[in-house]
Structure formats: C-alpha cells, structure tokens
C-alpha cells in the first residue's frame, strides 16, 4: 500500500471526477471532492515523510522501468509542492459548498466538482511526474479544467476571460511541447533524469538552446511571467470565488515548479547562468513585474483585479530568486510558492464571503466600505493576509523577503535590496486602499444582508489566514523544506 502512494496521489482525484459525473448529484460531488482533497493531503504528507527518510522515491508506473516507462519521481522539491497544492485544496474544498451554491446554478454543481477534481489531478500530476511528455498531458488536464472553472463565473466577462486564457494557455502548452520535441530529437528520451544525463553529452547546442527558449516562453505564459501575464487579471477576477482562491494559490506555482525543474535539473545550469544572460533576463523581468504590476494594483478599482495584479508582482518575487541563483535566494523563491499560496488563497477566500453577503457580482473598492463593522472577522482576516502580502515581520511574507534580501546581499546586488523594499512599500499602498475602505469608509450602499459569511466559508478562510501567521513564526516545515529543495536543485551544479 505504502509503495503505491505516488500513484494514489494522482489516481484518487482522477477517478473521483467520472464518479461524481456518474452519480450526478451536487451534494455527493461536494462530499467526494472534499474527501479526495483531504485524502490527497494525507498522501502528500505521507510522501513528504518518506522523502525525508529515503531521499528520492522513484515509482515505475505499470511496472515499466524508467527510462522506458513513465516514472513518478518524488524528491524534496516535488514533495514540498505536492503538500502546498493539496493543502490549499483541502482548505478550499469544504469552503466550496456554500460559495458554489450561491454562485452557480444547482444543476451544474456536480459538473463543477468533477472539473475541480480533474484540475487537482492535473496539478498534482504535473508535480509528481518525471516524464517530459507526461508533464504536458497533466498540464493540459489542469488547464482545460481551469478554463471551464473560470467560464462558470457569474458575469459574462468570465466567458471572455476564460477564452483569452484558453488561447494563451494553449499557445504556452504548445510552445512547451515544441521544446520537449526538440529535446527528444536531440536525446532520444523523455525521462527527465535520463534526459539531463544525455544533454550533458550533447555537443551541438543550437537545438538545445531553441528548446530552452520554447520551454521558457511556454511555461512563462502559464506562470504569468511578466510580460506574459495578460490572461491572469481577468481570469482571477471574473471566476467563481472558490476558483479564484484555488487557482491563484496553486495554478501558477505548479508551472514555476516545472520551470525550476528544467532550469536546475534538466538543463546544465552552469552554462545556463554563466554563458547566457539568464540571470540578467530573469532579474529584469522580475523587477519589472514587481514594480509595474504593483503600481497597476494601486490604481485598480475592482478588488479582485487589484489582488490579481498583486499576484503578477508576487510571481516576480519568486522568479527573482530563480534569477539571483544562490542558496538563500532559491530558498526564498521556493518558500514563497507556499507563503504566497496561503496568503493569496486566504485573501480570495475572504473576498468570496464578502461577495456572498453583498450579493453584488463585481466588487469595487467602494463596496468594501464599512466592512469592518459589517463583517469584523472577515475584515480583520483581510488585514492579516494583507500584512503578509506586504511582508511585515511575524507573517509568512516576511520570511520570503528576508531570504530574498539575504540572497541579493550575498550576491552584492544592493540595488535589488532597495527594489524589494520599495515594492513592499507599493504593496502597502494597495493593501491600505482595501483597509481604508473597510475601516474608515462611510457606510456606502446598503448591502443585501449583514453579518459574517456562513461558518462553512468563514472557518476555512480564517484557517488559511491563520496559516499566513503560522508560517511567519514556525518555519520548520516551510523554510526547512524549501532549503532542502534548494540544496537539491543546486547539488552537482557547482
């Protein structure tokens, strides 16, 4: 049983989806989706514990030994991301019941939960697989499910947002598969570990460089690397509340994971960072994302779009650590996958409660006014998560910025430290706009209903908020896991 854990991680949500469709009832759909999410979290924790013991778990799917068969490979980095994805899923799934009931027609509930399970299966599969083409298939499973989930949003703008994401997301996936094709032509293998070994022996570098470019742009589209982020703000803003939270917390992170995997384990990172301007490119794009997207967020009127632009900026922090490329900055990058995941997840879950109570389809900053009186717990949660977004000591966001700054100083990039601090100040500006409306705004238009969101939504949202604080104090799992993953990525490169 324990040996089968890597397969169960993907098979459980993958099987739940058709089961939910066959039963065809919304209540069962929710129960099954929640049970599967919790089971996935248990499996992910089990895998993480075993990885801590034995190092790397290699699972030959269908007993076909790698490199011929598809290999599932769990190491320190993938175990960390598996826990992140399934943790967010386990908190978001119970939340879905009331939120989905309010936002989606009754007869479509079971389809929603089926899509959610497929999305979860795709994301977990992308992380656990050790096969380049299998990663593409899981990327498409999660992407197609995400397009559907976004299109279920209450406004008609959700359809256009979903269509735009479908176009750009498919171009990204196609570029990725072109890159994999070139690597396959050069090495004759699709197993990532095997490919890495054979790439070291390849002498003609031009096809490999072309593959690198295609994979970088392809995954860059999926992870919303500035300036390839055009799809993200609308996709997050117009999707149902639960989808905003789940996708914002996990979707881009998994693509960043795939990028890290290619940059540090498949391609030879030494020439990548020494002979190519990889470092300069990533630092430049990340700084642009951090500054420009944060500034756009300051002037955004729609609350969900505001936090979506903030996500683009936060992805910038993650890719910044990749660009600086030393142990501390990479630790910061990887730990920010988790820290930003729970922070943004908490914010969108809380906003879902606000949307439910106000009954409004779109949420302007003005509609938050008086929130501190109407929904004191929700407003307080938003403040805490907002502080974590800024990076105040005692919250998860601070831990990330600490490691990024230490990494930048080690490298002698003092101006970068100034940029990180300056963009945190811009974050203060946009978070303050929300806080100002919630606590200092006049009553504004009278909301449809008063009081807090129902407990089924409030408890998961506050649990996620509590995690923002928890990971700010106890970093044994977050930084411990991230540091191990960063050491793994840097091993053998210098």
């Amino acid at each position: 049983m324990l040996e089968q854990l890597p397969a169960l991680q993907v098979v459980l949500p993958l099987l739940a989806a058709p089961l939910i469709v066959l039963v065809g009832r919304g209540g069962f759909g929710w129960a099954a989706a929640t049970a599967v999410s919790w089971a996935c979290l248990a499996v992910a924790i089990g895998l993480a514990l075993r990885v801590a013991e034995v190092g790397v778990i290699s699972y030959a799917l269908g007993s076909w030994p790698p490199p011929w068969g598809i290999e599932y490979r769990v190491d320190a980095l993938s175990a960390f991301v598996l826990v992140l994805v399934s943790l967010v899923a386990a908190i978001a799934a119970p939340y879905a019941r009331r939120s989905v009931a309010a936002e989606i027609e009754r007869d479509r509930h079971y389809l929603f939960y089926a899509m959610y399970c497929l999305c979860l299966a795709g994301l977990l599969g992308m992380v656990i697989t050790g096969d380049a083409f299998n990663l593409f298939v899981f990327l498409e499973i999660s992407s197609l499910a995400t397009y559907v989930l976004i299109a279920l949003g209450p406004q008609r703008k959700a359809l256009v947002a979903s269509f735009q994401y479908l176009l750009l997301g498919t171009v990204g996936a196609t570029f990725y598969v072109i890159g994999v094709g070139l690597l396959y032509l050069k090495t004759g293998t699709l197993n990532l570990a095997d490919m890495a070994e054979r790439l070291r022996a390849v002498e003609e570098l031009r096809p490999v460089l072309a593959a690198l470019a295609f994979i970088t742009v392809g995954l860059g589209l999926k992870l919303a690397l500035f300036p390839l982020h055009a799809w993200l703000p609308n996709a997050y803003a117009y999707s149902p509340s639960m989808v905003s939270a789940f996708v914002a917390a996990t979707g881009t992170k998994v693509s960043i994971y795939a990028l890290l995997r290619y940059y540090f384990t498949v391609f030879d990172p030494a020439p990548l960072f020494e002979t190519l301007p990889t470092r300069e490119l990533f630092i430049a794009l990340s700084v642009a994302a951090m500054v420009i997207a944060s500034l756009v967020a300051v002037f955004e009127r729609d609350v969900k779009r505001l936090f979506a632009y903030s996500s683009v900026a936060q992805v910038g922090y993650i890719t910044l650590g990749l660009g600086v490329d030393n142990l501390d900055s990479l630790t910061g990058s990887i730990v920010h996958l988790l820290n930003h995941g729970v922070t943004k997840g908490a914010i969108f879950l809380l906003l879902g409660g606000v949307a439910l109570k106000s009954g409004a389809v779109s949420m302007s900053i003005g509609s938050l006014s008086g929130l501190g009186r109407r929904m004191p717990l929700t407003a307080f949660g938003l403040v805490i998560a907002g502080l974590s977004l800024i990076g105040i000591p005692g919250t998860a966001g601070f831990i990330t910025k600490w490691y990024l700054i230490v990494g930048a100083i080690e490298f002698g990039l003092w101006w970068l430290v100034a940029v990180i601090v300056a963009t945190s100040l811009i974050a203060v500006a946009y978070v303050w706009r929300v806080v100002e409306a919630a606590y200092l705004g006049e009553g504004g238009e009278a909301p449809a209903k008063t009081g807090e969101a129902p407990l089924g939504m409030l408890v998961p949202a506050l649990a996620m908020t509590a995690l923002c604080v928890y990971f700010g104090f106890d970093t044994s799992f977050s930084v411990g896991g991230a540091r191990e993953a960063a050491e793994l990525l840097l091993r053998g490169t210098r």
Partner: protein, 119 residues
C-alpha cells in the same frame, strides 16, 4: 540547396507554426483565432512525426526480410497530443457559442465595446 530542399517537412512545419501564430494574433474573430490555434497545434504534430519516419522503414513489427523500422514513440505521443488538441478545440468552440449567446457577437472589438458600454 539540396540541404534546404531535403528538409522540406521542417519548412512546412515552420510555415504552419508561424501562420497559426499570425492568425491567432492578427484576427479579431474568435472562430478565426481558434483556427489559428489549431494550425499551430497541427504544426507540432509534424515536428514530432517527420523525424520518426525512416525512408524505407516499416512499422516496428518483427518480420522476415525487414531490418529498418520507423520509431513508433513519436506517433504514440502525437496520438495523445491530437486528443488534447481536439479537447481544446471542442472547449474553445463551446465557449465561443456561450460568448455569442451572451454578447450577440464573436468579434473581439465588438465584445470589448459592449463590455465598456455595460460598465
């Protein structure tokens, strides 16, 4: 010159790839955008399939008198990619139908204009 001509399948691949991207970017009609997307995806099928075929090679089934076999793996991969492409296209078309129901148009600029008018 022969070098260029001998690689004609690559030239077709690159042409389809660029043509697909161009349609996707330059056309405002959502249906045409999907056609561009499908063309781009099709070009990748060629990129995988063409190098897998050996001239004079047969299907990889052991038989007397045949010693050259084509590589079956790219075919299998592309079978999967075709399924993914069909699913993407089907979902894209379904969303276009819904957009037409909601907006009464499938022209990008008209849709954006109606969104602005509604705000």
């Amino acid at each position: 010159m022969t070098e260029v001509a001998a690689h004609y399948s690559y030239w077709i691949t690159i042409f389809l790839m660029v043509a697909g991207m161009y349609i996707l970017i330059a056309r405002g009609n959502l249906m045409k955008k999907l056609i561009g997307l499908a063309t781009l995806q099709t070009s990748v099928y060629l990129l995988y399939i063409a190098p897998g075929k050996l001239i004079g090679g047969t299907a990889p089934i052991y038989a007397e008198g045949f010693t050259t076999y084509s590589n079956p793996l790219p075919h299998v991969l592309i079978l999967t990619a075709i399924v993914v492409g069909v699913a993407t296209l089907a979902l894209g078309l379904a969303i276009v139908v819904r957009i037409r129901e909601a907006y009464g148009s499938i022209e990008e600029d008209e849709i954006l204009e109606r969104d602005r008018a509604a705000d």
